[in-house]
């Protein structure tokens, strides 16, 4: 009788575990209570003993794989004398319905081809030791590969072709036909610079929940870490008196709407930044540290930070300096919508030279964003507010916009940053310049 053995409930609210070692091989006979696998939970490494005496018909997991409670680990063929019906380790087998044996065997070829099976066939294969190792890593039986080289020599490419672009066996989660859930694979973030020390066991202070990072979250995490680690950031703060600009926007909201465009401050920020970048081209650049050169870009494509429910995305508007404001605004709205709908193309997302992030809609008095590497600067805008300002000896209400300019100190110094920020502020304070310059 064949019987699947699932990952038992490990207690203490743990829902998954990582397979550290598989201590048996298919075909092995094991005694009841003999160690089967070693798994690691967030709390400890646990050895899982065999619940029965029998033969291991199938091993469904491999080291490095993360499996949920209830996932099938091993299928046994029981022998007489085993405590057939005793559920192991307090697991409730009824909860996770065991898959039918024929379903398990349906996935057999996948599992076999990914396992580090001993080479079959006779005689040495015409391949270098490194190629033979590659075959093992990719789970390819090299004896079955037809070598395309002289005299049937098997090359790395032959192995990769046979593997069909499969990732290395060690990183590949085995298929889990019939298992309650696909096992998640834990994948570390790409390391940058210093390695983070091990985390403490937070469970000692209370319950925790572990959530896998989404693809977008991982990308953001990796890119922000790269920028924050690699680039010496420096931030210059300023405030723009946008009373006049604010009035212009208010006056034109309705006419713009009639043309299908919602006028926002962001498009004016983009235009002001684009025009100021002409005067300060070192902020429209990338540093090539390997060549020891600054790459100045003769185009001005600005990124705009867009918050989505999946995370931050920065689409790019091309040739901001050359486009009329109303066109810019229309393009911005369409682009932001595409991004929020998850329909942005790769072209929408790359080629930026400088980034603007306007968090004003969400409040706050200021923020220091991280540079969108390999750009060298980012402009952050917080919420514009009416504030009392002393003007010609009188206190008057003015609309002030807090700005922060964060830039790569390798490329520019504080004085450059101050001048560049002032050039942006000047355009925002005298909006006619935004028209006259183009």
């Amino acid at each position: 009788m064949s019987r699947p053995f699932t990952l038992p409930d490990l207690g203490e609210g743990l829902t998954e575990a990582e397979i550290v070692k598989v201590l048996v091989q298919e075909g092995d006979r094991v005694q009841e209570d003999a160690p089967l696998l070693e798994v690691e939970t967030d709390k400890a490494t646990v050895e899982i003993p065999s619940p029965v005496t029998g033969r291991v018909a199938k091993v469904h997991v491999q080291p490095g794989q993360t499996v949920k409670v209830g996932a099938v680990l091993v299928t046994f063929e029981e022998e007489a004398g085993g405590r057939g019906s005793t559920p192991p380790l307090g697991t409730t087998l009824a909860r996770s319905a065991p898959p039918a044996p024929d379903v398990v065997s349906a996935g057999q070829h996948t599992l076999e081809s990914t396992a580090a099976a001993p080479a079959r066939g006779s005689g040495p294969v015409a391949a270098t030791p490194a190629t033979r190792r590659l075959a093992r890593e990719l789970g390819v039986d090299i004896h079955t590969v037809r070598g395309t080289g002289q005299g049937g020599r098997v090359s790395d490419d032959d192995i990769r072709a046979a593997a069909g672009g499969r990732p290395p066996a060690s990183a590949q989660p085995a298929a889990q036909p019939g298992a309650p859930e696909q096992p998640a694979t834990r994948k570390p973030l790409a390391p940058v610079g210093a390695e983070a020390p091990a985390l403490p066991r937070f469970e000692q202070w209370g319950a925790v929940e572990r959530q896998p990072l989404s693809h977008l979250r991982r990308t953001i995490a990796e890119r922000m870490t790269l920028s924050a680690t690699l680039v010496p950031h420096v931030t210059h703060f300023d405030r723009a008196d946008i009373t006049e600009l604010d009035a212009i926007i208010r006056r034109n909201v309705e006419p713009a709407r009639q043309r299908g465009v919602t006028l926002t401050l962001t498009s004016f920020l983009l235009k002001a930044a684009a025009l100021a970048l002409r005067e300060h081209p070192q902020f429209n650049a990338s540093l090539d540290p390997a060549a020891g050169e600054l790459i100045l870009k003769r185009y001005c494509h600005l990124g705009v930070a867009v918050a989505t429910d999946r995370g931050l995305i920065v689409p790019v508007i091309r040739d901001v300096d050359k486009k009329p404001l109303i066109e810019l605004q229309g393009e911005l709205a369409a682009l932001a919508q595409r991004v929020r709908d998850g329909k942005a193309t790769l072209e929408d997302l790359r080629g930026g030279t400088f980034t603007v992030t306007n968090i004003g809609a969400l409040g706050g008095t200021g923020a220091v964003p991280i540079i969108n590497y390999p750009e060298v600067a980012i402009l952050g805008a917080a919420r514009a507010r009416q504030e009392p300002v002393v003007l010609d000896g009188r206190i008057v209400p003015r609309v002030l916009l807090p700005l922060s300019l964060t830039f790569d100190h390798r490329v520019a110094d504080g004085a450059d940053g101050a001048r560049f920020a002032a050039a942006i502020v000047r355009r925002l304070e005298r909006p006619e310049q935004l028209l006259l310059e183009w």
Partner: protein, 463 residues
């Protein structure tokens, strides 16, 4: 187990600190596994470093220098009679060679965090072993690697316990220089040590049971060595069995077959090595050594016990340190869950005599025996410029290639430096190179390595 017993828990326990054991331990440690080595001598290096490869090669170097000095007379250079200070030679071997390498290994172990426990490791079950001796303790392991190696075999039917009857370990101690030495066994150990003692001044008689020296090696590779040994040794008796050894006063009388009896001052028994697998408590595990004492392993060096692995001489022939080292790494990676395999095609072998004999892969006699379709190329060193400048034109380089594909299947070399030259042959066979690959690779001129290229070129000419 009694409460209060000291139990050590480790990921991997390696039994035996020889090349297989320490390679496994070092690789395990690199892969993040807590590893201890249990070694009776509480040291790394094993028979290879302490009583085998290394001390014998140190003495063979001395022997080679003495041989060159003798040969220099042909070039018109005479250093006079060499004076050998045995104390200084022993000290150099022990301190500057063995000691230095031992300190190096101990340093590596320390750097990698591998602890060495002194004592004899005896398995108590598939998960634990008991250490008897210097540092008694119990070690509970997740995995164990049996790397207990081999020991010299005694002379079958004529064993004699006497100070004057040595095995290779005793011979390498060089406690004195016998005037008349009998070497029993014409394999690589007997030939190497026979040449060492000859160079140091002993008169050596060598006895071999079969009808030729170095049984199993192609005769054309053995011939130059045999010719040289005939000059060096007092006598070589082939097809001869030593039927008895008797201690008679200060000498040993050896009887050859049913015939004559000859007296010697010392006897070296070099009739092979046998695996060390007894008294290890393996009966408490699922490991069952075969009738010869070898432990069977699969391609990953895994024994029949899921927790126990084995590497080196204890797993079978060829009993060579470099095979053990490769196996040790495979076992360690397999323990760590990596897709490792000992899928090695060739284990090259070298006899460090004068001249050296080295081979790897398919031999000519094996190819003939198996009726393989091969082409064989032989390059006589008489045509080598470099050999001429060395005054050594008696060498031979031989390639055995697949008749259809030209793939190099085996290489054999005899001549000075053959032990180094064989590395290219091993690479060629292991990497499945063709004779054309060797022929089209530029080899430095004038060197002995050119002989490989030359041999390969003869295979390219139309047949």
């Amino acid at each position: 187990m009694v409460m209060g017993d000291l139990v050590r828990e480790v990921d991997v326990a390696v039994v035996g600190g020889g090349p297989g054991g320490y390679s496994a331990a070092f690789r395990c440690a690199e892969l993040g596994l807590e590893t201890v080595v249990v070694d009776a001598g509480r040291r790394l290096g094993g028979a290879c470093l302490w009583e085998g490869c290394i001390p014998s090669k140190a003495l063979l170097h001395v022997s080679a220098v003495l041989g060159e000095v003798e040969r220099a007379k042909e070039f018109g250079v005479d250093f006079g009679e060499p004076r050998i200070a045995l104390d200084a030679l022993r000290k150099w071997k022990a301190e500057r060679v063995v000691g230095k390498l031992a300190r190096g290994l101990a340093g590596v172990a320390k750097a990698k965090g591998v602890e060495i426990v002194g004592g004899r490791g005896v398995f108590e079950e598939s998960r634990a072993l008991r250490v008897e001796g210097d540092e008694p303790q119990k070690i509970r392991f997740k995995h164990a690697v049996v790397a207990t190696g081999s020991a010299p075999s005694p002379l079958p039917g004529a064993a004699l316990a006497s100070d004057r009857v040595m095995d290779s370990t005793g011979a390498l101690e060089l406690s004195d220089l016998p005037e008349r030495l009998l070497v029993i066994g014409g394999g690589y150990i007997g030939l190497e040590l026979g040449q060492v003692y000859t160079a140091l001044g002993s008169k050596v008689t060598l006895v071999e049971m079969t009808d030729g020296l170095l049984p199993g090696v192609d005769r054309d590779l053995v011939q130059p060595l045999a010719r040289h040994c005939e000059k060096l040794f007092v006598k070589i008796r082939l097809g001869t069995k030593v039927t008895s050894l008797h201690e008679q006063g200060l000498q040993i009388e050896a009887r050859f077959g049913e015939g004559d009896t000859v007296a010697f001052d010392r006897v070296l028994v070099a009739v092979g090595r046998r695996p060390v697998s007894a008294e290890l408590g393996l009966e408490t595990t699922r490991v069952r050594p075969d009738a010869h004492g070898f432990v069977a392993v699969d391609e990953r060096c895994h024994t029949a016990d899921p927790r126990i692995w084995a590497v080196g001489d204890v797993t079978g022939e060829p009993m060579l340190a470099h095979r053990a080292m490769r196996q040790g790494k495979v076992a360690a990676e397999a323990i760590a869950g990596r897709p490792a395999a000992f899928d090695t095609v060739v284990v090259p072998a070298v006899v460090f005599t004068d001249p050296e004999v080295a081979w790897c892969g398919l031999t000519e006699s094996q190819a003939l025996r198996e009726g393989r379709r091969v082409r064989i190329a032989k390059f006589q060193w008489a045509a080598s410029g470099r050999a001429a400048t060395l005054g050594r034109s008696d060498g031979l380089t031989k390639l055995i290639a697949d008749a259809d594909t030209g793939r190099v299947l085996g290489v054999g070399i005899v001549g000075p430096g053959a032990g180094e030259l064989i590395a290219e042959g091993a690479l060629a066979v292991e990497a499945a190179l063709t004779a054309e690959d060797l022929a089209m690779t530029i080899h430095t001129h004038p060197t002995l390595s050119e002989t490989l290229m030359e041999a390969a070129e003869t295979l390219l000419r139309p047949t």
